[in-house]
C-alpha cells in the first residue's frame, strides 16, 4: 500500500502545483467578473470594464494613471460600508475614469512643422508652410511661437470677374507671418480603430497675436511698381487636434483664423508711387482661415509616469 500512497501523494502535489500556477497566471479573475457586471459605456462602467482589460491587455489600453492594488479596487468598487473601513482612504471617486494617458506633454517642447491651405477666400488660395515651437507648462497648457510662409494661387473666380462684370478685384497676397500663441486642451479622448486598436487624441483651443506681411496685387500690371507691402498686427484664434502615435510623435490638425487689418490698393488716380498708395489705401479687416496638417515631435523624446506615492 505504501507505493500507491506515494504515487497518489505525488499526483496530488503535481496537480496542486499546476493548479496554483494556473491560478497565478490567470490572475484578477474577480476583477474580470466586475468588468462583466455592466457594459463599458458610461463613466463608472468604463472604469470597471477597462480596469481588468488594462491588466490583461496593457498594450492596448495603457493601464491606469492611478493604479490601486486590485484587491483594494474591488473593495472600493464594492461600495459596501464594510469596504470603506479598509486600510486605504481611497474611494471609487478616486479612480480615474479614463485609462492612463498614452502621452504626457508637461515640461516638453513640441516642434511641429505643418502645411495648410486657406479655406475662405473665393479669389485667391494661399498655401502655407510653417512651424510651431510650443513649450508645455502642464499637460494641458502651452505657450508657443509660430512662423508661416505663404504661396499664392489665383482661383478661376478672380479671372471671371473681368469677363462677367468688367471689373478687377482688389486683392492682396500674403508673404509671411509670425505669432505668439497660447493653448489649452479641454477635450481628451480615445477611439477604437474598427474596434481593434485604441488611439488617444485631444482637442485644443488656442489664441495669440503676431504680424502678417501682405503685398498688394495691382489690378493693372502697369502699376506693379507701385504695389506696397503692409505689416499688419494679426490676432488669431484656432482649434485643433492631436493624435498620439508614439511617445514622441503626434499628428496634428488645426483650423486657425488670422484676423488681419489689411490695406488694399486705392483708386489708381489717387497715387503716383507706392508710399502715396499706402497712405491712401483702403483698410479692411480680413479673416484668413487656414486649415493645416502637421506632425509634432517632442523633446525630450521619452517621458515617465508619476504615480501617487
Amino acid at each position: 500500500m505504501k507505493r500507491p500512497a506515494i504515487c497518489l501523494f505525488i499526483t496530488v502535489a503535481i496537480v496542486g502545483w499546476a493548479a496554483i500556477g494556473h491560478a497565478k497566471k490567470g490572475g484578477g479573475g474577480k476583477a474580470a467578473d466586475a468588468g462583466e457586471a455592466k457594459p463599458a459605456d458610461d463613466g463608472a462602467a468604463d472604469t470597471k470594464a477597462s480596469e481588468p482589460k488594462a491588466d490583461a491587455a496593457g498594450s492596448e489600453t495603457g493601464g491606469e494613471a492611478v493604479e490601486p492594488e486590485p484587491g483594494k479596487v474591488e473593495e472600493e468598487i464594492g461600495a459596501e460600508p464594510k469596504a470603506q473601513k479598509a486600510t486605504t482612504t481611497l474611494t471609487w471617486k478616486d479612480i480615474v475614469v479614463l485609462p492612463r494617458k498614452a502621452f504626457l506633454k508637461g515640461n516638453r517642447l513640441e516642434l511641429a512643422p505643418f502645411s495648410g491651405v486657406t479655406v475662405n477666400d473665393n479669389l485667391i488660395r494661399h498655401y502655407v508652410f510653417g512651424v510651431d515651437l510650443n513649450y508645455f507648462l502642464t499637460d494641458a497648457l502651452w505657450v508657443g511661437v509660430q512662423g508661416q510662409y505663404y504661396v499664392k494661387q489665383t482661383l478661376p473666380e478672380y479671372q471671371l470677374l473681368g469677363l462677367q462684370y468688367n471689373r478687377l478685384s482688389s486683392a492682396n497676397k500674403y508673404l509671411y507671418g509670425g505669432s505668439l500663441n497660447f493653448g489649452y486642451v479641454p477635450v481628451y479622448g480615445k477611439f477604437a480603430w474598427i474596434n481593434r486598436r485604441i488611439v488617444q487624441w485631444e482637442i485644443w483651443a488656442s489664441a495669440g497675436f503676431g504680424v502678417t506681411m501682405t503685398e498688394v496685387m495691382a489690378r493693372d500690371p502697369a502699376n506693379d511698381s507701385k504695389a506696397f507691402k503692409n505689416t499688419a498686427l494679426t490676432p488669431n484664434v484656432g482649434i485643433g487636434s492631436r493624435f498620439f502615435l508614439a511617445d514622441w510623435l503626434t499628428v496634428n490638425f488645426a483650423l486657425r483664423d488670422y484676423i488681419i487689418p489689411d490695406k488694399y490698393e486705392p483708386n489708381p488716380n489717387t497715387y503716383a508711387n507706392a508710399d502715396q498708395a499706402k497712405a491712401n489705401a483702403d483698410s479692411k479687416l480680413v479673416n484668413n482661415l487656414i486649415f493645416y496638417v502637421g506632425v509634432g515631435i517632442y523633446f525630450p523624446m521619452k517621458f515617465t509616469y508619476k504615480t501617487p506615492g
Partner: protein
C-alpha cells in the same frame, strides 16, 4: 537440482494479490503522467485569450442594426453670392457598426447676400460703358440661390470612441466618411430671366439657371451621443454638381447658356439631433 526462482522472476506463479498491486501501481503512474502532461500540453498550445479580442468589450452597440432619424439645420460655406441657411431632416439605417445608408433633405429658409456680392454690385454703375458690363440689378439678377438639397449616402465609420471634456463630461462618439449622390435645386435671383438654352446667343449676358442638378456628395461627419438613443450629428459635405453661380458667361465665348455650367463645389455644414431606434442598444460580447 532445481533452482528456486524468485517469485518476481516468475509472473506465471504470482498470486491474485500481486496482480492487483501491480495494476494499482500502473494506474497510479498513468494518472500521474496524465495529470502532469495534460496541463503542460495545454499550456504549450494556449495563446493569450486576448490575442483576437476586440479592443473594447461589453460596450453598447450604438449603431449596429439601428435606425436613426432626426432634424436640424445647415448652412453653406464659402459661397460666392449667397449664404444659404437650411432646415433639414436625415434618416438612416446602420447595417453594421461601421456601415450605414442614410438619406437627407435640406430645405432653404434664407439666402443672405455675401460680402463678395456687395463688393461687386457696389463697384458697378447704372450706365455701363459696354454691353457686357451689367448694372447692379442685372448683375444680381443672374446670381444663383439654392432652394434645397436632397441626397443619399453610404457612411463608413472606422473610428468609434469616447471623449472627456474638462475631465468631467463624458460622451461616446463616432467619426465617419460619407459618399453618395445628391440633387441640388437652384433658381436665379430674378426668375424672369430667359432660360439658358444650348444655343449661344451673344446678346444674352445672363440666363436662368434653375431646377434640380444631379451631382456627387462626399464628406465627413460625427455623432456625439448624449444618451444611448440621442446624438448630435454634425456633417461637412461637398455637393459637386454642374452649376453657374453667377448666371453669366464662364467659357469666354460670349453670352450665357448651358455650356457655362461647370462642376461647382457647394460646401455645407449641418447639425442634426438624431434619435436612434430601438432606443435600448445591444451589448457586445
Amino acid at each position: 537440482m532445481t533452482i528456486q526462482r524468485s517469485t518476481k522472476d516468475m509472473p506465471m506463479l504470482t498470486t491474485t494479490e500481486h496482480a492487483s498491486r501491480r495494476t494499482a501501481r500502473r494506474l497510479s503512474l498513468l494518472v500521474a503522467l496524465a495529470v502532469t502532461a495534460l496541463p503542460l500540453a495545454a499550456q504549450a498550445q494556449r495563446k493569450s485569450p486576448l490575442a483576437d479580442a476586440p479592443a473594447v468589450r461589453k460596450r453598447y452597440e450604438l449603431r449596429q442594426t439601428r435606425f436613426e432619424l432626426g432634424v436640424g439645420g445647415a448652412s453653406t460655406v464659402n459661397q460666392d453670392f449667397y449664404h444659404t441657411f437650411f432646415v433639414g431632416v436625415k434618416a438612416g439605417f446602420h447595417f453594421t457598426d461601421w456601415l450605414s445608408l442614410s438619406a437627407f433633405g435640406d430645405f432653404a429658409v434664407a439666402n443672405v447676400s455675401t460680402g463678395f456680392q456687395g463688393s461687386i454690385t457696389d463697384a458697378l454703375g447704372d450706365n455701363p460703358p459696354i454691353d457686357r458690363e451689367p448694372t447692379p440689378g442685372e448683375a444680381k439678377a443672374g446670381m444663383q440661390k439654392i432652394t434645397n438639397i436632397l441626397g443619399a449616402q453610404l457612411e463608413f465609420t472606422p473610428f468609434t470612441g469616447k471623449y472627456s471634456m474638462f475631465g468631467k463630461l463624458f460622451a461616446s462618439y463616432d467619426f465617419y466618411g460619407l459618399l453618395g449622390a445628391a440633387m441640388i435645386s437652384v433658381k436665379p435671383t430674378d426668375e424672369a430671366l430667359p432660360d439658358c438654352g444650348d444655343a449661344k446667343n451673344l446678346s444674352i449676358f445672363s440666363c436662368k439657371v434653375s431646377g434640380m442638378k444631379p451631382g456627387a456628395n462626399v464628406g465627413l461627419g460625427f455623432h456625439s451621443y448624449f444618451t444611448n438613443y440621442l446624438a448630435l450629428n454634425v456633417e461637412f459635405r461637398d455637393v459637386i454638381a454642374k452649376l453657374n453661380p453667377s448666371g453669366r458667361d464662364v467659357d469666354g465665348v460670349g453670352g450665357a447658356n448651358n455650356a457655362d455650367l461647370t462642376w461647382t463645389h457647394t460646401l455645407l455644414v449641418s447639425a442634426n439631433l438624431q434619435f436612434f431606434f430601438p432606443t435600448v442598444p445591444g451589448v457586445s460580447f
